[in-house]
Amino acid sequence: MKKAELMDYDKALELFEPVLGFEVHVELNTKTKMFCGCANEFGQGANTNTCPTCLGLPGGLPQVNAKAIESSIRLGLALGCEIAEYSRFARKNYFYPDTAKNFQTSQYDEPIAFNGQLTIELESGRLVTVDIERAHMEDDAGKLTHVGGQAGRIQGADYSLVDYNRGGVPLVEIVTRMIEGGEADSPEIGRSYVAAIREIVKGLGVSNARMEEGNVRCDANVSLRPRGSNILGTRTETKNVNSLRSVERAVRYEIQRQAALLAAGGTITQETRHWHEDTGITSAGRPKSDADDYRYFPEPDLVPVAPSREWVEELRATLPEPPAARRKRLQADWGFANLEFQDVVNSDLLDAVEATIAAGAAAQAARKWWTGEIARLANVAGVAAHSLVHPVQVAALIELVVAGTLTDRLARQVLEGVIAGEGTPLEVVELRGLAVVSDDGPLIAAIDEALAAQPDVLAKIRVGKVQAAGAVIGAVMKAMRGQADAARVRELVLERAGTAQ
């Protein structure tokens, strides 16, 4: 549907109540795959991390990765889930070339975790509690490349190529219950929910959590219920929405699209839909059909997973503070205004700022450096700010500024040196000879020189035009190549004019 044909968003909400549901796939960052000892990494050549098991060769058999079970349980606990006393893998049977065994080893009616809850906070401050139906374990599919036809599209391709390096990588699929009452906030709920999941898995360290690399993938279910009705509408499932902003846009688009269709007397087809990042629309995929008879049955090559309660409690004890609670605590501790704190969070610098403060820096200084100069340099270099410099070095830099050894301007040069690998801030100061000149002798000489060039300045100061000192200070700083403490220079100039307090 063209954007012009969509129903106005407010109008859509007037007529319909959106009902949401999300399936989020989280790729675990275990060293090996879910069911074999092949490395869980891709990026080198295709099909380099495969074996008879993950290639689905005749005779291959699965072996469960203990770490993946542990990560799944921890994730389940972090989502407030109950952990099953008895859980089983099941085969989900369907044919597809990226699925080596032509069944996915997943879980069906006995998932590892179920009945959880996640409360998210919207920008308005509204709290929304999302009920988690289940979190289950499964293996990922390989990667298809479509050749010929439209660039990379499956439609019209001449043939496809398969790389099974990703095949068998452990996934946890988190399935929500129906989310009702989202109303106009529905798109934001989608974004915030996925952001919260991403934050949780990152905090747990169970996933690299990079959406752009597919570590976290979201399928968004949207249906509309006419106002006054209690009958659920037909839902669509928009697959693989892979950025937070896209989740928000896709939900909003589906609400507007479905509303336009329904208002025109049309019906919604139960189908999967594809999200197009470039055009911001969804398009019809495969309709749900008989072919979705997945013939689930318990995986006979694997035995049940029955985590002892002791083990579950041990794992519970390893859980980090929930991200939302941690944020609340840190903002209070640091005394940041909402905007200041949001700035840190949105720049993904919470850990870096926290570590810098832990290393002795004042909270505001840490925030200022990270969201300011470091973020700017990172942006130029095209890397994440926290990867640019270690928090301990930033704290050391701040300490030098506080001690008066460096001005802000000098400190920026020192930072560049640290990033360039020249050593600690102190080492860079020595190496580059950048410390503030604290001996008054050279300063007075420079001031004399500047006053000689601008003889009327002292007179101006004496008649109260103190700002005239600025010109002299500027000249002195220039002459000292910045290695002077401007405040001290000012003091000395005023002293000379005889107006110093």
């Binding site: 074996c51 008879p52 290639l55 689905g56 060769l57 005749p58 005779g59 291959g60 058999l61 699965p62 072996q63 469960v64 085969r91 049977n93 044919f95 070339p97 080596a100 065994k101 032509n102 069944f103 496809s160 398969v162 099974y164 008879d293 013939r295 689930y296 049955f297 006979p300 090559d301 694997l302 035995v303």
Partner: protein, 515 residues
């Protein structure tokens, strides 16, 4: 000079150990015999003559160098084609895998190689082990050495025929519902299905994962025990593999050779498998064997297993269901043949469907469709779910029986070897052939078949099945060895010594360069 091919693996082991013969001599003798008779028997799908001789030479060299070798080092072995071998094609008797050489060895194959055995080649089988006659092999049937017009049993007819025609002293088989024991019975050889989880399934091309078990195929109980010791034990690559430490099966078999080994053994005769509707000669030999056992001091106890009558039904739901999923991977993408549809566009879906139509034989298709049906929405509970419950009931029957007796016995198969084509057109008649062997697979308990005579009406071998409680495979070997000794003492010879000599064919001549 002794006829090397007629010796048991245990005897060959002794001659090799004291260097009376070399492994190359032993291996060549078997290869020559294969060349002479296998055109008629067709036990082998692939013979690795050069590789076998080279391996034998290496073993001889190691022995000469004073290396400490296992008891079966230098002894030749035939390997069922269901097992992945990285130097030989592994087709599971199916056209869809024609020529496929796996990039890895099955765990049992690896263990056999590590123990210094000499793989001779790959043996014929019903396609994907679905069948009781080898008539469903895509590469033509194997013939029973006792009567070349008859079936050698199945699915492991190739391995059973290989040992019973003296082409190999040892073979590996796999048993999902009787594929080791029923061929052993109809060829007069010995076959053992170990406790489920006792032997690794890694690299065994799966038929039904919860039923499959790899095991030894031999001419004597003691040889089976020696081979069991080589292939058994925990394998981390098979998640259903048992971690138990196992006693030596060979020692257990030797214990059975002691005088009085049968005294006081409580032998359970399962009323439901006692021979009603079985071939008269089978019933007769079974009765005689029981009488001999009783005379030797065993206590014969009648036991009942009321749920066994549901075993075939449960089996033919569980097996096809698991098989339909296990065989999904045969899709022309990563291995195996690829067949394009006769007409229409070449899409991935259509090529897969055409490949599976052309590559699978009729029995495989039948079971895949049946299994797909049993698992599909709306039928699962009535079929697959119910079959799993029957499994519980059958386990309970076994538990109740083993509370009263030490071992259970029955004929291994209802009939002796039937003629080719007799049951091909009636799937249910073929399925009923497994009535005696299936319960052990459903419950996971170990079972053995050993010869108990020839049926008077057709002069063909009849097998005795012995079953023991789960994990007590050693008991099978002790009891089996004792029964074997008792029977052979009664007959005054081994059963296989009565088999007709197979005439060499032209193929032998061509090997000699005459043609």
């Amino acid at each position: 000079m002794t006829n090397l091919i007629k010796l048991s693996a245990a005897d060959l082991s002794g001659l090799l150990a004291d260097r009376s013969v070399s492994s190359v001599e032993v291996t060549r003798a078997h290869l020559d015999h294969i060349a002479a008779v296998d055109t008629d028997v067709h036990a082998f799908l692939h013979v690795a003559r050069d590789a076998a001789l080279a391996t034998a030479a290496r073993i001889d060299a190691r022995r000469a160098a004073g290396d400490v070798l296992g008891p079966l080092a230098g002894v030749p072995i035939a390997i069922k084609d269901v097992l992945a071998t990285q130097d030989m094609p592994s087709t599971a008797g199916s056209k869809i895998l024609e020529g496929w050489i796996p990039p890895y060895d099955a765990t049992v194959v690896r263990r056999v190689r590590d123990a210094g055995l000499i793989p001779l080649g790959k043996t014929n089988m019903d396609e994907f082990a679905m069948g009781s006659s080898t008539e469903f092999s895509a590469y033509g049937p194997t013939h029973n050495p006792w009567d070349l017009d008859r079936i050698p049993g199945g699915s492991g007819g190739g391995s059973a025929a290989a040992v019973s025609s003296f082409e190999a002293p040892l073979a590996l088989g796999s048993d999902t519902g009787g594929s080791i024991r029923q061929p052993a019975a109809v060829t007069g050889s010995v076959g053992v299905k170990p406790t489920y989880g006792g032997v690794s399934r890694y690299g065994s091309i799966a038929l039904a994962s919860s039923l499959d078990q790899v095991g030894p195929v031999t001419r004597t109980v003691y040889d089976a025990a020696l081979l069991h010791d080589v292939i058994g034990g925990h394998d981390p690559l098979d998640s259903t593999s048992l971690t138990d430490s196992w006693p030596s099966m060979a020692a257990a078999a030797r214990a059975g050779l002691a005088d009085g080994a049968l005294k006081g053994v409580r032998v359970g005769v399962i009323r439901e498998l006692a021979g009603e509707g079985f071939q008269p000669g089978v019933r007769q030999r079974f009765g005689e064997t029981l009488a001999l056992l009783a005379a030797a001091g065993a206590e014969i106890v009648q036991v009942s297993a009321p749920n066994f009558e549901y075993a075939i039904a449960a089996y033919y739901l569980i097996l096809p269901a698991e098989a339909s999923s296990n065989l999904a991977r045969f899709d022309s993408v990563r291995f195996g043949i690829r067949v394009n549809p006769a007409e229409g566009p070449l899409t991935s879906e259509r090529v897969m469907a055409a490949t599976r139509d052309a590559g699978f034989g009729p029995e495989v298709k039948r079971r895949i469709i049946l299994g797909t049906y049993a698992l599909s929405a709306g039928y699962y509970d009535a079929y697959y779910g119910s079959a799993q419950k029957v499994r519980t009931l059958i386990q309970r029957d076994f538990d109740a029986a083993f509370a009263q007796v030490d071992v259970l016995v029955s004929p291994s198969a209802p009939t002796t070897a039937f003629k080719f084509g007799e049951k091909m057109t009636d799937p249910m008649a073929m399925y009923l052939n497994d009535v005696t062997t299936i319960p052990a697979n459903l419950a996971g308990v170990p079972g053995m078949s050993l010869p108990m005579g020839l049926a008077p009406e057709d002069g063909l071998p009849v097998g005795l099945q012995i079953m023991a409680p789960a994990k007590l495979d050693a008991r099978l070997y002790t009891f089996g060895a004792a029964v074997e000794r008792l029977l052979e003492a009664t007959w005054g010879h081994t059963l296989l010594s009565q088999a007709p000599e197979l005439a060499p064919t032209e193929m032998f001549a061509s090997e000699e360069g005459v043609v």
